[in-house]
């Protein structure tokens, strides 16, 4: 017993030695933290402050209190951009979640050809949104493939320049965004579906559950944590969406496809109204805030 006890004690001591933090290790944490602090947290704080100022970027910013926020109330373009952002969250987010889940369900079972189908649907994810936008811009041209197909199936009256029409521009931009996002969400759901214990399905089948009942009572509840991740990801992605709109329409024509993100960018770097632009950025932050907190709480809980 005594012989056994001695090494145990020394192990314990050694373990405590590991736990004492050597000073070099503090640098391991402090250097990255300083980089992020200087280039992310410090600018973010400045962003909040700038939203309370009027600034052209040249002379010193003047403090105007909440004037920028008051101005939004009477700014029609802000109204359009806010509405479009909501439409974007609902359609881009909703369709990519529902479509991604559908595709994952379709391609979940390992069978012949499934690897090819998954790869085909996933490929656009690796393209930049700018390249994606240009590919689709060519498709939407008046003499492009899309109008040709419409002509070929007898819908000549539907032909028009999809990106130049204020009524269709936002939706025309949405399609390429979805083309690229669906494969990504599909991968998230495929990972989730892989984690479901097959025994649950066997039990359900023994009880005579139909395919719909299996989905409703086995798959869906089991996907709960994936669902909340997908929800966070798509809301954060929707609010960040910028590249595809900027590349295809720059928010036009007549601001019809303007999102808060594109409006913020053009206000800042084209109109040089840096204070008002910062206030727009704060609005985007506020919209994302709930999702960010939910995401962090989950990360905190799982990081035990």
């Amino acid at each position: 017993m005594a012989v056994l006890a001695a090494p145990a004690a020394s192990v314990k001591r050694r373990r405590r030695a590991v736990r004492r933090v050597p000073p070099t290790l503090l640098l391991f944490v402090l250097v990255p933290l300083a980089v992020e602090g200087f280039w992310v947290f410090w600018p973010a704080l400045q962003g909040f402050y700038l939203s309370l100022t009027k600034w052209d970027g040249v002379s010193a910013p003047t403090f105007v209190g909440l004037d920028n926020y008051a101005e939004m109330l009477s700014d029609d373009i802000f109204g359009t951009a806010a509405l479009d952002t909501v439409i974007w969250i609902v359609l881009f987010g909703g369709l990519s979640a529902a479509g991604g889940l559908g595709l994952a369900m379709l391609l979940n079972r390992e069978r012949k050809g499934v690897g090819f189908y998954r790869a085909a649907l996933f490929t656009p994810v690796v393209f930049s949104l700018v390249a994606t936008a240009l590919i689709w811009q060519a498709i939407y041209q008046p003499d492009g493939v899309f109008n040709n197909v419409l002509g070929a199936i007898g819908l000549d009256s539907w032909k028009h320049s999809w990106l130049a029409d204020p009524d269709t521009a936002l939706y025309a931009v949405l399609v390429p965004a979805l083309w690229r996002q669906l494969g990504y969400v599909m991968v998230l759901y495929l990972a989730g579906l892989k984690g479901i214990d097959p025994v649950l399905y066997e039990a359900a089948k023994l009880d005579g559950a139909t395919a719909w009942q299996q989905f409703r009572h086995v798959t869906w509840p089991q996907l709960r944590s994936v669902n909340s991740v997908v929800l966070s990801v798509i809301i954060i992605d929707s609010l960040r969406s910028f590249d595809v709109v900027w590349s295809m329409t720059k928010g036009g024509p007549y601001h019809s496809s303007e999102l808060l993100s594109t409006y913020m960018y053009s206000t800042a770097f084209q109109s040089l109204r840096l204070g008002y632009a910062s206030a727009l950025a704060v609005v985007i932050f506020v919209l994302a805030f709930g999702v960010i907190v939910t995401y962090l709480v989950r990360a905190f809980r799982e990081d035990q």
Binding site: N108, I135, V145, P198, D303
Partner: protein, 297 residues
């Protein structure tokens, strides 16, 4: 993985005993699956086929037959145009000058932080991890104006250095979060043994923990490469001059330069997609598992 092994695959022999009617039904369902999945795949690949065919058509073919017509020509000069006069080659060089240091620096700093935070009792370690992650979740819009002014103040506005630093800073939180989760699953005994042999923390980090983190580093490396290479927003925020633009923003410039030369624009898009497609094909498994990290968390 477990799904394929645990789920009883329909054995071949009993299938013959299945009544013909059921067998027929199964064949029809398999056909239906391939019809739907195949149809969707074709639909998804069609835009890619289109951009490639457009890129190899001649300008006069597109002008006379229309952009959406079947190709009547085969002409690779558009690639030379996009690469040379259009500035694609130079932009590609800029992209690599930005992307490679960004990926290496991000992963180095993030894995150092992750090592300290996961293997030692750093005070407030959990808070630090979450604060770092929260920085990555911020909408970038809130940072654009201050970051562009900060880089002006430091005299690095309109340089690739600014773009590298900004992207490293913004990505760090996410990479640190993923890596520390991975490093915590490495058994403590290995570190103990090295410590008894007199290895310092840097040696343990560099020779033991980092090599064992390789799968996670490969996954994050592939993702970071794609994200950095495909970036538009940070580039157009800290850069202004055409000649320093990486491929992704340069593609927008190309579009402005060759307004209706769709063959050149298409060639540019194809060129811009080659590096990320290559990384994806080479690291396919890591890439997918990297994306899925988010779902499992």
């Amino acid at each position: 993985m477990s799904v394929t092994t645990t789920r009883p695959a329909p054995p071949a022999a009993p299938e013959e005993r299945v009544p013909a009617k059921r067998n027929h039904k199964r064949a029809r369902r398999t056909f239906g699956f391939h019809l739907v999945a195949g149809g969707l795949s074709v639909l998804w690949l069609l835009p890619i086929v289109l951009v490639i065919t457009t890129s190899v058509r001649s300008f006069s073919d597109i002008a006379s037959n229309g952009l959406g017509a079947l190709p009547h020509s085969f002409d690779l000069s558009s690639f030379g145009e996009a690469w040379g006069v259009g500035g694609g080659g130079h932009a590609m060089l800029n992209s690599f000058i930005v992307t490679i240091p960004t990926v290496l620096l991000s992963l180095l700093l993030a894995s150092a932080a992750a090592f300290a935070l996961s293997r030692f009792q750093i005070p407030f370690r959990r808070t630090i991890i979450l604060v770092m992650l929260s920085g990555n979740l911020l909408p970038p819009q809130i940072l654009l104006v201050p970051v562009s002014k900060l880089s002006e103040l430091l005299g690095i506005y309109d340089t690739l250095t600014a773009l590298i630093i900004v992207q490293v800073g913004f990505g760090l939180g996410f990479y640190t979060f993923v890596l520390q989760g991975f490093m915590r699953s490495i058994p403590d005994e290995i570190q103990q043994a090295a410590l008894i042999d007199g290895a310092g923390p840097i040696a343990i980090f560099w020779r033991i923990i980092l090599p064992m983190t390789r799968p996670a580093l490969a996954a994050l490396g592939a993702l970071a490469f794609t994200w950095t290479f495909n970036d538009l927003l940070w580039s157009i925020t800290v850069l202004r001059t055409e000649t320093v633009m990486p491929v992704t923003p340069a593609l927008l410039g190309l579009q402005g330069q060759y307004v209706s030369n769709w063959n050149v624009i298409a060639a540019g898009s194809v060129i811009a997609a080659v590096p990320t497609v290559a990384v994806f094909l080479r690291f396919q498994k890591h890439f997918i598992s990297g994306l899925a990290i988010g779902a499992i968390k």
